[in-house]
């Protein structure tokens, strides 16, 4: 299994642990990730606010680079997935736009053809790799670990662009958790927004939302939150101390990236997966629940 790998900007900066854990887990599973040379930021849902043609063009370039590898494009970020898939859908459904974008790409020796898929690590685990195969790789079943699966908006919505599963009642995260041996808790905010994209212009509301999301997970009895999106992880983890200021109850709960959860079940130690880099320390909990040394 070979994929063009689109890390997205956060994996090179504030979410380096996601780069580390994704590569370790992919390697352990036998998934080959070939990082796209010269990939650029997907626009993170902001560039189209300045110029939507530019937003489509830069992602057409990203996809065209993956087409040269002749491999599906894999991301580990919900928003990168949405931005790349949005560009792809626009180009695949509008010949006039595709021709115009290709005029630009032609100047740099590239062409968008529309020959490859854009997918997410979570979907690859289920659809391409297979849960039964994943189960066979589990060395340390995560029994006793209660997790709150926080999907994040952009892996589900809008459904006409994402469409991997029913956006009103998705199951992918729970299916993976079950195979790894963890217990998924039911909580009100399972499909909630993290607010990350508006943290600057709407800080007050976003902090309130972070408090609600953390508290909902905690009250449902979760030991930690797990998310397939680095932006959700950053919002819920890095800003948790700020969100706590306006909430009387203790909202403290660790937040893991999905590949870190998979990595723990594959037998990696927390430090090998960069779990010590999180603002809210997850390691004491993992030591207790998974009987780590």
């Amino acid at each position: 299994m070979r994929y063009g790998f689109f890390p997205g900007c956060t994996l090179e900066s504030a979410a380096k642990e996601l780069m580390l854990s994704t590569k370790k887990v992919a390697s352990a599973l036998g998934i080959e990730l070939v990082e796209l040379k010269g990939w650029t930021c997907c626009g993170a849902s902001h560039i189209q606010d300045v110029d939507d043609f530019l937003a489509t063009s830069i992602n057409a370039r990203n996809i065209a680079l993956a087409e040269q590898l002749n491999a599906p494009l894999l991301t580990v970020c919900n928003t990168c997935t949405l931005m790349l898939r949005t560009a792809k859908q626009k180009l695949d459904q509008n010949d006039e736009l595709k021709a115009k974008v290709n005029q630009g790409l032609d100047k740099i020796g590239l062409q968008y053809k529309g020959t490859i898929e854009v997918t997410h690590f979570l979907w690859v685990l289920i659809k391409d790799y297979g849960l039964s195969r994943l189960k066979k790789k589990v060395k340390r079943p995560l029994e006793g670990l209660k997790i709150a699966n926080f999907y994040g908006c952009h892996i589900l919505q809008p459904p006409h662009i994402m469409g991997f599963e029913n956006h009103l009642n998705p199951k992918a995260m729970e299916m993976v958790a079950e195979v790894l041996g963890a217990e998924s808790v039911e909580f009100d905010q399972r499909l909630a927004c993290c607010g990350f994209h508006a943290v600057f212009p709407a800080e007050k509301e976003v902090m309130k939302l972070t408090g609600i999301n953390c508290l909902s997970s905690k009250k449902a009895g979760a030991d930690c939150i797990v998310t397939p999106c680095p932006l959700c992880q950053m919002q819920l983890d890095m800003y948790q101390p700020d969100a706590q200021k306006d909430v009387r109850e203790d909202i403290t709960i660790p937040v893991l990236h999905l590949p870190q959860l998979v990595g723990l079940a594959l037998g990696f130690e927390p430090n090998e997966l960069g779990i010590q880099r999180h603002i809210v320390d997850a390691i004491p909990l993992l030591k207790k629940r998974l009987v780590l040394v």
Binding site: K16, I108, P201, R277
Partner: protein
């Protein structure tokens, strides 16, 4: 499946409670069928609103299992299979004042809507007696936004609105502003757009709930992006939202990647960023950011800049 249990949130103007009704399952029915059957056969006091039954009037929107739907358009079978249950919870739309049971008050929303002047401000190209001519291309700009039936589903699902009713306009109001701003017959697009900017345009969470749930499949997210572009074209760039968006555009042009260290500075300016020093130390301590790291330009940055030049040319042509 023999029966469907409908758990309905009731409100009599004073107290709230949930009440359950058992309905015999019938294949191929809608949510509105269920509500009508309850009212006609089980409980005449149940109050809900509905008009056309054909997804035109927008009056029957309700929430089922936490999601807003147009009752007349939504299949009961679809919900039963989606939620894998024979028990459905009905509630009035979120982010609205409730009048009784499932009926919400639209009056405050219409008052809010007046802010954006939801009417045509006619240009000199036409008049009442001669009408206006509009090209097919120009008509297509308004054909989707005019599909809005004011059902309130988007408002019910809006995450920003749930936290902030006072400083944000409902998505259907943004749609109304867009609809008139892009109308070729309108003489004053800024009069529709400026109130949007002054009421938290940039506070949108980009969650895509509005576009995902709209029963008319209106691309509200793209409309919002247009409104943001329009405000910047009006010269309104000195706000956090616009500066944040431009920071992405500039970073990709300069290096190909986002610089997370300089992003707050570019978005909020030096003084505001200083208030984030404790936050920055928290991240530095864990190695999440390195303030001295200068990202290198990506391989092929010259090519990326050529795409920028090409896009700029397209914009100007």
């Amino acid at each position: 499946m023999e029966k469907v249990i409908c758990r309905i949130k009731r409100y009599d103007g004073v107290k709230e409670w949930y009440q359950e009704y058992d309905l015999p399952y019938e294949k191929g029915k809608t949510i509105l069928w269920a509500l009508t059957k309850i009212r006609e056969e089980l409980d005449p006091t149940l109050t809900f609103s509905s008009g056309c039954r054909h997804a035109i009037c927008g009056s029957c929107a309700v929430r089922v299992n936490g999601n807003a739907f147009l009752a007349c358009k939504t299949s009961l079978d679809h919900l039963l299979s989606t939620f894998e249950t024979h028990r459905l919870t009905f509630e009035p739309l979120n982010n609205f004042k409730v009048i009784r049971d499932l009926v919400v008050d639209w009056k405050p929303k219409f008052e809010k809507m007046k802010e954006v002047k939801p009417w045509l401000i006619p240009s000199k190209d036409g008049d009442k007696s001669n009408g206006f001519r509009q090209s097919a291309k120009d008509f297509h700009k308004i054909s989707s936004p005019t599909d809005c039936i004011l059902c309130g589903v988007c408002a019910s699902e809006c995450n920003q609105l749930s936290l902030n009713q006072d400083e944000y306009l409902d998505p259907f109001i943004l749609n109304k502003a867009y609809r008139f701003a892009v109308d070729s017959r309108d003489a004053a697009p800024e009069e529709h757009i400026r109130p949007i900017l002054e009421n938290g345009l940039w506070k949108c969470f980009h969650c895509m709930q509005c576009v995902s749930k709209c029963p008319k499949e209106i691309d509200l997210a793209s409309e919002n992006a247009y409104l943001r572009q329009a405000t910047m074209n009006m010269g309104e760039r000195a706000n956090k939202g616009a500066r944040h968006a431009y920071a992405f555009v500039e970073d990709v042009k300069n290096k190909g990647r986002l610089n997370e260290v300089t992003l707050p500075l570019k978005t909020e300016g030096f003084i505001n960023t200083m208030s984030r020093i404790p936050f920055a130390f928290r991240l530095i301590k864990k190695g999440k950011i390195n303030p001295f790291h200068l990202p290198k330009a990506v391989e092929g940055i010259q090519e990326v800049r050529k795409i920028y030049e090409f896009a700029q040319g397209e914009k100007e042509s």
